[in-house]
Every structure is written in structure tokens, then in C-alpha cells.
Symmetry: C2
Subunit: 322 residues, 2 copies
């Protein structure tokens, strides 16, 4: 092994079309980390936000884009893992590359019957959905959840996990085609946000909302929440500012949560990974939750992959292969 | 027993000084309720808000003001309770009177060694504090909590319960005298909001905030919250509107909660009462949490009692005796 590898480097700051495959130094292992030789890397909306210059990596994190991968352990470092072991990994960055260093607590087993690409396509979405709709806001059987952006990678995962929990699922999406996919994955209530007002349709009915829009939807989301409802915001596709009426929060007894998976401390990430493997991996292996790969592209086509996200023209997840 | 009683009636809507003792019908018992002959009724800030016309009772609730009392059971209705049993009661209204009907789940025992007045002075504050700082936002040993309005009835109860849990306690209040009382009850960090900027003093340090101000403090409170911090708003003394930056919610991983004890469903209230008696009653009986009565007044002086709250000139709780 040489001490260099190929990875995606951004040649113009803030320009998602300026991603090139270049030679860079291989990552060095810190205590408790293993080196994974990447076979497949998942593409997430946060990657696009980072490439646009709006989501810098946390202190000490890799500058290379990419939040999830699957592959083989190439160096077990000081851990008890074995070289050659096939794993998935939740990353703070560094997925768009040939190798990545990963804290052991962020390794996941390959679900039975899953390929590397299929594994890389579900890690970030499964951990995001489980940590938010269950660990953060406690979605329960019989409750109603509203999932914004039902047709994306997070959305389709959230629909399926919520259905597996026994919740009633409402989704918003911007086209009849996307809503049809949501329905196929189990959504009960389909709302085209270009034609319908979700707040009127779901007034006081939502026990949980999984929000990716932020500011422009806040008032409507609070209108749609039921008494005792909980909303968790994991994206700000519409912007971050809003006016809030705290009297409505009190009178309805609601709570508003914000999270980013990437910024959680390493021990919290390990606990999220542990609970996700315990609860979601059986759903994947039994087929109750399905992966949904939109397309697999070569790693060199990273800009093209982010272009799909920019145009919102995909359903499900994109995967890159070095 | 006749079918009338004396109670406080508001003769001019929205005017807290227009409260008169008049004869009104005694309450009729619904299934599962007991009739309590009131010996002492606690006075809360919500009473003032209701008298000002800004906090109407929930549907089906008594129009008479008053959220807590202590006394003896005068009619056990269809329950297994005994006439003459001494009890405290958490109410949705009706406390400023000689008799009140109470769902059995909202009865509490008299803490050992406590008088009726002392019991009436702690029920609403104990249930409010426990349900919010523990049940709603999970304050834990070793965490830091910021309590706004430390010198009020809720504030002094919150300081003591938080200390009993093992938390570090910061408070805000508007005078050196009030801060001195907060210190006596255990507060570690004292902030005079007229002279200091609490957000600068506590930047990123608060795991939990108990908020009674609302809109004007939202931005500062979010600044003071630590990563993973939780705020619960139970009052809006400064107003209900604010601009919110949801990006800060996400980056800090914080949650904002709003509650009112009075509007919770009857089964939730019963659970709050159960957990408060289980956890806070021993603290009261062992002297780790002390009541703090500002003054005991005759029931006819209800307007005078609310006047103390309006002027914010008291520390601790006011009690009325029929």
C-alpha cells in the first residue's frame, strides 16, 4: 500500500460542479479507529450543502465529502477488528474516497443479503431516521407522523420505519410520480405541496413531524401538530428564519427539536449506530424496510450525483463506487 | 349542607381588582370526582392572567379562579375515598371558593407535618416543576439549569428540586433581595437581569432552561443553551412572538418545549400528580424542599393577593383561606 489514495477534491469553493478525482494523502488512524477500503459511498443532501459551502465539517473532521460507506477493513488499528472484515460505516466526512478512517463505534454489519452499494445506501438514512423519529421524539404505534419530502432518501426510509413501528404516515412531495413511490413504500396520506395546503389537510392531527424545510413551514407545521405533538427539523431547504408564536407551543403542549447527525459527539453516534442496528437491521433483513437506489455512478461522477440532488429529480439514494 | 357556597366572582371582566366574595351554586360531582371543603387555596400567576382575561379556563372547567387547594373530603362521590379525609388537590379552576369538585387522580396526600396552608402553597408549583424539568426535559444530576424568575413561587420550588436532583442552578431575578432569597434556597449562580446579560454570563452552558418570559428572551435563551440543551416555556410574561433561527436549533441540537399544566388531559394530570407525590413529597417531608409562604390572606382579599403578583413585590407563594 502506498500512502496516497484517490479522493474527490473540490477545486472551486462553493461550486458543486467543481468536484475532481485527485490523489491525496491516505487518512492516518487515531486511537480507536479502523481504516476502511471503500467499495461504495452513499450520497446525501448534506453533501450538496457542504459542496455549496453552507455545511462545513466539524472541527477535526475530514474535508472530503461523504457521510456513509461500505467496504472492507484494511487496517484494524488498535481495535480487535479483523483486516478483511466487511463493514458499513457512518462517517463525519471522507466517504468520497478510496479509504476512510472510522471510529469503531460507527461501524455497522452488512445486513444479510445486502451488497456494498445497498449497504452504503441505507446507513445515513437509517441512522438519521431512527435517531430522530424514535430516539429524539419518541414516535409510537398508532400515532400519525408527517414526513416532508417523502420521495427522497430520508423520506422513503422514514415512511418504511414509521410503518414498521405501526404509525400512520402522511407525506408531502412535489409531484404525482414521487407521491406514487411514497405510496408504494407504505405512505397512507399523500399531499402534493404544489397543489394542496398540508396544514389545512392535517390540522391538529400530527403527533410527529419530520421536517426538512425549516423557516417557511414552521407556522404551518405548528398548525398541523396535534396536542402534545413533537417536530424534529433535520434540514433547512427553505431557510432558517421564521416568526414563532410561543403561545401556540404552550397551548398545544408541543416541542420543536433540531438535530444534525454529523455534529453529535462520538459516544452519541455510537449509541445511535447501536440502536439502529438493533432495530432497523432486522427490518432490512426481513424486507420490511427496503433500500431504494436511484443510480450507482463511478466516484469520478460525484458532481453529476450532486446535480441530481440539486434538481430534486431523483427518488431514493445515489451511490458512488471508487 | 345547603346547595350554595361562597366563592370569588369577577364583577368586571378583565379587571383583577374586581373580585368579590359572593354566593354561587356548589359544584356538582361528575363520575370519579370528590367534593373537597377548602381550608386553604394557593395563588398562582396564572390566576392573575385569567383575571386579566388572557387565560380562559379549558372547556368544561370551573369559571372560578384557583388551581390548587387543601382541605377535607366533604362528599366522596362514587370513589372509595372517605368523607373527612384530609387532602391536597391540583385543580383546573375553582380554588377560590368554599368547595370544589376534583377528579380523584388529582388528589394528593398532605405531606407529613404540613398544615393546609403549607400544602396549598406547594401543589401547583411542585407539579409544575416536576412535570416540566424532569418529565418534559429530563434534567439530570450534574447538569446546569437556568431558572428565570427565581424569586417567585415556581422559581423557589424549581431551585430546590433541581438542587435535590444534583443539578447546578443559575437564576435570574430583578432585585438583590430576591437573589438573596434564591441563594438561601440553594441557587449557585445569581444574575440580576436589570444589570447583567444572562446570555453572555451563561453562553452555551445551560443544559436546561425553565422559561417564564417567552418571546423577548428566546434568542438569548438559545444562546445560553448548551449543545443538546432543552428549554421549556411555561409562561409568557414578556409576550409570545419572536424571531427564531432554526439553524441554531439544528447546529446546537436543542429542543424547545411549551406546556401548560392546566390544559393537560385528566389522565396525564393524574400521572403528573403520581410522580410528583412519589418524588417531591419525600423531599418536602425530609425538609430538602421547603415551602415559602409570602402571606396568608382571607379569601375575600383575592384582589389584594393578585395585586402582589401584578407588582411582582412578593417572594414565594400567597395563600387564601375561606
Amino acid at each position: 500500500m502506498t500512502d496516497v489514495m484517490k479522493a474527490i477534491v473540490q477545486t472551486t469553493e462553493g461550486d458543486p460542479s467543481a468536484l475532481e478525482l485527485q490523489e491525496v494523502p491516505k487518512p492516518e488512524l487515531q486511537p480507536g479507529e479502523v481504516l476502511v477500503k471503500i467499495a461504495a459511498a452513499g450520497v446525501n443532501r448534506a453533501d450538496l450543502t457542504q459542496a455549496q459551502g453552507n455545511y462545513p465539517p466539524p472541527k477535526g473532521g475530514s474535508e472530503i465529502i461523504g457521510l456513509e460507506c461500505a467496504g472492507e477493513i484494511a487496517d484494524a488499528g488498535d481495535t480487535d477488528r479483523s483486516v478483511g472484515e466487511k463493514v458499513g460505516a457512518l462517517l463525519v466526512g471522507g466517504g468520497y474516497a478510496e479509504y476512510v478512517a472510522v471510529p469503531e463505534g460507527q461501524l455497522l454489519p452488512i445486513p444479510e443479503g445486502f451488497s456494498f452499494a445497498e449497504t452504503a445506501a441505507v446507513i445515513e438514512t437509517a441512522c438519521t431516521v431512527w435517531s430522530n423519529i424514535v430516539m429524539e421524539v419518541g414516535l409510537k404505534e398508532g400515532e400519525t407522523i408527517l414526513i416532508h419530502g417523502g420521495g427522497g432518501g430520508i423520506g422513503l426510509m422514514a415512511i418504511q420505519i414509521a410503518k414498521a413501528i405501526g404509525a400512520k404516515v402522511a407525506v408531502t412531495a412535489g409531484s404525482a410520480e414521487k407521491l406514487e413511490v411514497c405510496k408504494k413504500y407504505g405512505a397512507d396520506i399523500l399531499i402534493n405541496y404544489k397543489e394542496q395546503d398540508f396544514a389545512e389537510e392535517l390540522k391538529n392531527q400530527c403527533n410527529v413531524i419530520l421536517d426538512i424545510i425549516g423557516g417557511p413551514y414552521l407556522k404551518k407545521n405548528m398548525f398541523a401538530l396535534a396536542e402534545g405533538g413533537r417536530m424534529v427539523t433535520i434540514g433547512l431547504q427553505g431557510g432558517n428564519k421564521a416568526e414563532i408564536n410561543m403561545g401556540i407551543m404552550m397551548m398545544k403542549g408541543i416541542s420543536l427539536h433540531g438535530t444534525t447527525l454529523r455534529r453529535r459527539p462520538v459516544d452519541v453516534k455510537a449509541e445511535i449506530v447501536r440502536q439502529t442496528v438493533e432495530n432497523v437491521w432486522p427490518m432490512l433483513e426481513e424486507g420490511r424496510v427496503k433500500h431504494h437506489i436511484h443510480e450507482v455512478l463511478p466516484l469520478a461522477d460525484a458532481s453529476k450525483a450532486l446535480g441530481f440532488l440539486e434538481a430534486s429529480s431523483h427518488t431514493g439514494t445515489l451511490v458512488l463506487e471508487p
